[in-house]
């Protein structure tokens, strides 16, 4: 097989990390190849929000747009924590029995040009500085080998490129510059939440969002359809395809190959990775990798490393520490939803448009290390159309059902919460011994069990959410959370970053300790999850910082 020798760097994955790294390398004059396992979507044709039956579909899922994985051990449910069981008024309990289950599919992600930013809501958060120093400041979890100040210029750079809208006041997350765009107007349900929060002496504010509040950089302003996660056909949402990829392709130095999954690494001289093999149109191809950047996400990246074993690396590439696949962190989430008298049109507006950071610092929740945040979640969890109301809010049938949909539609208000997840011995990604894909590569298998700290944090998240809804005069109709439902959108930690090669996979610039030309720029490098911060901005900022380190040698 001929080895193509054309590119200065090869990037695996075109999501928040791969796209940002590729853009920065192209900007610095390098020629870059992105190998993306999923397709390139055409927003105008593929997204369905213009169709009357739009609500029946989530983000499109054509062949190749979801990575393979299986679900391993998720743990048992302790009856003492029954208050955390997911339920809704139409169906009753959403998980029956005493075993934690994976909500179909369990791990929500997109493979494609843009990665999971294609279906993300678009929150654009910086990490709380103290959340990067959990071990040294709070004696739990793991420190990041860099600090907020080291990342701040890259946060600013990415925000200015993507077009983030947000308020000036950001508390502990100090800023060297204001956001490039003003914040969005709070939606009808967010206004109710702001008022309830004020009465409870909570500090709520507009959320910082990668969605345009004004036209920006040739892209239009958001029109507040409320369905970011079904795919944005306008291009106002700052997904990686319309931001980093678009800019990198404009440089003329980026080649993107969609539907080209990488299957094999080949060792090069001096412990490097010399080349990779990938499938292109059913044919095996090979390309040399002077620089290789893995950005396939916290599930597929460890899969690639673990599945590629040879005489030199019997435990997989980059795995002399044994840490590849370990320290997996899922999304610790909760939402409470209720009907609010006097509220209407709650389907309209930007999802997750207001946020409360009061409990985000690692020591902000009494009795447990690791924080959380609260946000408006009405549109984010799907209360944007009549099917959601008829299947989740209104019980029964006949005139009762139809009248119920008419009288409740647009009146749901949801509070969402996401909290810190500390990894434990029961949270890891390994290779499934019994499932292989058509190319013979084992599936990655996800194991994730909650420890008492996570349960305590969830209980706090649930009680605060209920308190807010009660203050708003809401009648509860649905609650859902991670106690019984494994439903992860943010996953982290399977190739963690650190200074010690014995306990980490990559260094502070995301270079693998074991291979000098291998870098990882996805959320697998996160040493900790943060107290609920959405990770995409941090992934991109780290990736750009890594690209700068590559160029500067």
């Amino acid at each position: 097989m001929a080895v193509k020798k054309r590119f200065d760097a090869v990037v695996v994955g075109a999501g928040a990390g791969g796209a940002a790294a590729a853009w920065r390398l192209c900007e610095q004059g390098l020629h870059v190849l992105i190998l993306e396992a999923g397709p390139r979507f055409n927003p105008g044709a593929d997204y369905r929000l213009h169709r009357p039956d739009w609500e029946r579909f989530l983000f499109p899922d054509p062949a190749g747009s979801r990575g393979d994985f299986t679900i391993g051990t998720l743990g048992r449910l302790d009856p003492a924590d029954e208050e955390l069981r997911s339920w809704n008024r139409a169906s009753g309990p959403l998980v029956r029995g005493n075993m934690r289950q994976a909500a179909n599919p369990g791990y929500w992600h997109v493979q494609g040009v843009g990665g999971s930013t294609l279906h993300f809501v678009g929150e654009s958060h910086r990490m709380h500085p103290d959340a990067m120093k959990l071990a040294s400041q709070h004696g739990a979890g793991c420190d990041w080998p860099l600090d907020y100040a080291g990342l701040e210029p890259y946060y600013t750079l990415c925000e200015n490129l993507v077009g983030v809208a947000g308020p000036a006041e950001q508390g502990a997350r100090w800023r060297s510059q204001p956001y490039p765009l003003p914040p969005h107007p709070p939606s009808p349900s967010a206004r109710k939440l702001l008022a309830a929060g004020r009465r409870l002496n909570m500090k709520w504010q507009e959320n910082s969002r990668a969605a345009l509040s004004m036209p920006f950089d040739g892209r239009p302003a958001c029109n507040y359809c409320g369905n970011c996660s079904r795919g944005c056909p306008l291009g106002d949402k700052g997904s990686a395809d319309v931001t980093f990829i678009r800019k990198a392709e404009a440089s003329g130095r980026l080649t993107v190959k969609p539907l080209c999954p990488v299957v094999r690494f080949h060792s090069g001289a001096g412990g490097t990775i010399g080349s990779v093999e990938y499938i292109d149109n059913k044919k095996l191809q090979r390309v040399e990798t002077p620089i290789l950047i893995l950005a396939a996400g916290a599930v597929q990246t460890p899969r690639l490393l673990l599945a590629n074993r040879n005489r030199l690396y019997p435990e997989g590439f980059a795995n002399s520490s044994g840490q590849v696949g370990r320290n997996f962190m899922e999304t610790l989430s909760w939402s409470s939803s209720g009907l609010v008298a006097g509220l209407s049109h709650s389907h309209a507006g930007l999802p997750a448009d207001v946020i409360c950071w009061d409990f985000n610092a690692p020591d902000a929740i009494p009795g447990v290390i690791g924080g959380c945040r609260f946000n408006s979640a009405t549109q984010e969890i799907g209360f944007t159309g009549p099917i959601a109301y008829a299947s989740r809010v209104v019980s029964g049938f006949g005139a009762q059902l139809k009248n119920g949909v008419r009288t409740t539609f647009g009146r749901v208000m949801s509070v969402g919460a996401i909290g810190e997840f500390l990894p434990n011995e029961g949270t890891y990604v390994d290779l499934d011994p019994s499932r292989k894909d058509r190319l013979g590569m084992p599936f990655p298998r996800l194991h994730s069990q909650l420890e008492r700290g996570e349960i305590q944090r969830l209980k706090f998240m649930a009680s605060q959410s209920r308190r807010l809804l009660k203050e708003a005069g809401a009648e509860l109709v649905e609650e859902a959370g991670a106690w019984d439902n494994f439903s992860a959108t943010h996953v982290f930690g399977t190739c963690r970053m650190g200074n010690n090669p014995k306990t980490s996979v990559v260094d502070s610039h995301c270079r693998c300790h074991d291979h000098s030309n291998l870098f990882i720029t996805d959320a697998s490098v996160f040493p900790s999850s943060g107290g609920g911060e959405a990770p995409s901005l941090t992934i991109s900022a780290l990736a750009v910082r890594t690209a700068d380190a590559i160029v500067s040698g």
């Binding site: 997204y47 929000l49 179909n104 359809c225 369905n227 209407s344 009549p386 029964g396 539609f409 647009g410």
Partner: protein, 161 residues
């Protein structure tokens, strides 16, 4: 038309139910529908989603046809409809479709509150879920709601009430 994720989820749930309770989704029941089945299923759907002053019934919006189409792609769903219709017609009196509205209501109401792990309740829950999806994905069902258009291309711009 691509199968929606919701439909796939529904069929998966039906599959689990059949496996767990060892029901046979045999080829005999994946066969052509009978007139009795069609009239029973239509009447059941119209009991779930009746006509009113705002919008038509389930069959007015062709929900029955859409669900028969779904059943053609999955013999287990076909089997579930068959079993549910069979149960609805086991009153000893006239077929379900010929019962009075009050009698039909009483029967469906019993179904809705019966054991979750038995056929009548599963039939009610799963068909209700599928019917709701087919019904409310049509703009004709939106009269009386504060939504007139799909989310795009117009969006829902402020000012909001």
């Amino acid at each position: 038309m691509p199968a929606s994720q919701a439909r796939r989820r529904l069929l998966k749930i039906i599959g689990v139910f059949f496996i767990r309770y060892a029901f046979d989704a045999g080829p005999a029941l994946a066969s052509a529908t009978t007139g009795l089945e069609r009239s029973t299923f239509a009447a059941f759907l119209d009991m779930l989603l009746p006509r009113d002053e705002f919008s038509g019934s389930a069959t007015d919006l062709h929900v029955d046809e859409k669900l028969w189409e779904v059943s053609r792609s999955d013999p287990r769903f076909r089997r579930l409809i068959g079993l549910g219709c069979q149960w609805l017609n086991m009153t000893g009196g006239p077929p379900f479709a010929a019962l009075s509205g009050e009698q039909q209501y009483a029967l469906v109401d019993w179904m809705a509150h019966s054991d979750f792990d038995q056929v009548p309740r599963r039939f009610y829950e799963l068909v209700r879920e599928a019917a709701i999806e087919m019904y409310y994905s049509q703009p004709e069902a939106w009269h009386g709601l504060s939504i007139q258009n799909p989310p795009q291309p117009l969006g829902y711009k402020p000012p909001w009430p």
